[in-house]
């Protein structure tokens, strides 16, 4: 049984269609990265799964529960780690965890809090107010709060957005641990590296629907080939190179100050300048080609 099953889900906000006929299955025990630019519908999908948004059309099931009718029961078995820090900042670390242990009807609140403190590596800060914690500690606490009841399914909504690389790496280690224990994870992100590093499978979302899905390596092979050539040059020359590459059927995307010619192994000698830097094709190439957005 899939942990999450969405069929033809539509969610509109006035004239804006945030989720547009979304079909999505998340099998049990995998980490699925929902990768998409801002406004792709990732957060709305998360809110639909927690019953905080109601679908205009379509069918949703989470852990076998029909949504939104049975969403309270579904939420009892899932953990949510939000994009925004919504901890109670004046309250102690352990009280923040205890409130959620009670909300999830955990039988032994004290033991659950201790376990969550260990997970977040915050045992020695348990009596400190959240206000006194560093940004990284707060993020770890937020993650631990979502896991205090040992859920079967975890929704991570942009778990590392706005964090510095060091804190991001700390969180990735925690998420990796979770994944290795067999917990099903649906993680929305717009960081390519995060999806590549953590997700068993990636679903690329744009304009409210999934436009491609697979293991990162499969997506790269399907959409970007083996190799990408990056060309660094003045704008006029970049324009010429672009035209040449497109003339032989290659796809070109902007890459900061350069252009990236995707699938350059198919160039057969022509179309790729000799000074181009050749590298393995990446998920970033796929993301930009599919969504037309610059990657982060």
């Amino acid at each position: 049984m899939a942990a999450i099953e969405l069929r033809g889900v539509v969610k509109r906000f006035g004239p804006i269609t945030a989720v547009d006929g979304l079909d999505l299955d998340v099998p049990e025990g995998i980490c699925l990265g929902l990768l998409g630019p801002n406004g792709a519908g990732k957060s709305t999908t998360m809110r639909l799964l927690t019953g905080q948004a109601l679908p205009d059309a379509g069918e949703l099931r989470a852990l076998g529960h029909e949504l939104p009718a049975d969403s309270k029961a579904a939420r009892a078995e899932m953990g949510v780690v939000p994009q925004l820090d919504n901890l109670d900042v004046d309250v102690t670390v352990e009280d923040n965890l205890a409130v959620f242990a009670r909300l999830y009807r955990v039988p032994d609140v004290g033991a659950a809090v201790d376990k969550a403190l260990d997970l977040a590596r915050l045992r020695d800060r348990r009596r400190d107010a959240v206000d006194e914690l560093s940004g990284g500690m707060r993020r770890r606490l937020l993650l631990a709060r979502g896991l205090v009841h040992e859920p079967k399914l975890v929704l991570l909504d942009e778990p590392t957005v706005g964090l510095d690389p060091q804190i991001r790496t700390q969180l990735w280690t925690l998420i990796d641990d979770l994944r290795s224990r067999g917990t099903t994870i649906l993680m929305s992100t717009h960081y390519i590296e995060e999806a590549e590093r953590l997700a068993d499978e990636v679903a690329v979302m744009a304009a409210g629907r999934i436009i491609s899905r697979g293991r990162p390596a499969e997506l790269i092979a399907e959409h970007a080939g083996r190799e990408t050539a990056e060309v660094y040059a003045p704008p006029e020359r970049l324009a010429e190179v672009r035209l040449g590459a497109e003339a032989i059927g290659l796809r070109v995307r902007p890459a900061g100050p350069a252009i990236a010619i995707v699938g350059s192994e198919r160039a057969d000698g022509g179309g790729i300048p000799e000074d181009a830097v050749r590298r393995a094709a990446s998920l970033e190439d796929v993301f930009v080609l599919l969504t037309g957005e610059e990657a982060e």
Partner: protein, 274 residues
């Protein structure tokens, strides 16, 4: 597995799962425990102002007026008249205002409700818990003016033991009112309209500072619909002796709390669920 097989497995699983019902004490208790944890961080300031405020009012209105303008109202020393009336002002200021501002801040600035509603709790439980907590707190703060007035000569009476109950029921209604307002307004400064249009008039025509029998007849009729006026009358009943109509007053306050509870849930549902 075939589609019919999968459906059968699902049905069996659904039957085994405990259904989460409405208004579960565990969910309500968890939200109240959150409020208590937060309250522990700010109770001193709130309690200090709740005790000091009636003392200041009693000194200003009670002693000031009784020394210069009014000696007594219907045979009750003015300081005791005001002291018992102050219960109503303590109740509205410790229920409607915290409900309005607290709910708004938790929803719009702290995203607290997003966090809570991702757990197995629904809007009905969330609003009920918030109202119960505010009601419990206001029922304690509502008694402070009475206790302070005793220092100014008010004799204790057995009926006063019911004052916390009267305060609790009234503050439930005003907490519901405040939560509903927080769900309706677009910006925090719009609470100025709510305060000017509802809170201040209700508190001025509650009969806390002067008997409403001195007001024009039309205003007296309208004042009967004011829950604060009913509370003032019940508190004075507790202090100086009840009469038969007090049961109707109490029933009216229960109805007010019930109606406001449903309105608050309805408005918050619209605000919190997209």
């Amino acid at each position: 597995m075939s589609a019919s097989g999968e459906a059968a497995v699902r049905q069996a699983e659904d039957a085994e799962r405990p259904r989460l019902g409405r208004l579960e004490p565990a969910a309500i208790g968890a939200v109240v425990s959150r409020e208590v944890a937060n309250f522990r961080t700010y109770w001193k300031g709130t309690t200090f102002s709740s005790v000091l405020e009636p003392i200041v009012y009693l000194l200003a209105f009670g002693l000031g007026f009784s020394a210069t303008l009014v000696d007594e109202v219907n045979g009750t020393p003015y300081v005791e008249f005001v002291g018992t009336g102050m219960v109503a002002t303590a109740v509205i200021f410790s229920s409607a205002l915290p409900a309005m501002f607290g709910t708004f801040v938790k929803h719009r600035f702290q995203n607290t409700y997003d966090a809570l509603l991702a757990a197995p709790i629904d809007v009905e439980e969330l609003v009920s818990a918030e109202m119960l907590w505010i009601g419990a707190r206001a029922s304690v703060y509502g008694c402070f003016p009475l206790l302070v007035t005793m220092l100014f000569g008010l004799d204790p009476a057995p009926g006063m033991l019911l004052v916390p109950l009267f305060c609790f029921v009234t503050s439930l209604g005003f907490a519901g009112f405040g939560i509903a307002m927080a769900a309706i307004v677009a910006k925090i400064d719009q609470f100025n309209y709510v305060t000017a249009l509802f809170v201040t008039p209700l508190f001025l025509v509650s009969g806390a500072f002067f008997p409403i029998s001195g007001l024009p007849e039309g205003v007296q009729v309208v004042a009967q619909l004011n829950p604060l006026h009913q509370l003032v009358e019940l508190v004075r009943g507790g202090a100086f002796g009840f009469d038969g109509v007090d049961l109707i007053r109490f029933a009216g306050l229960l109805a007010f709390a019930l109606v406001m509870w449903r309105i608050a849930i309805n408005r918050m549902q619209a605000r919190l669920i997209d």
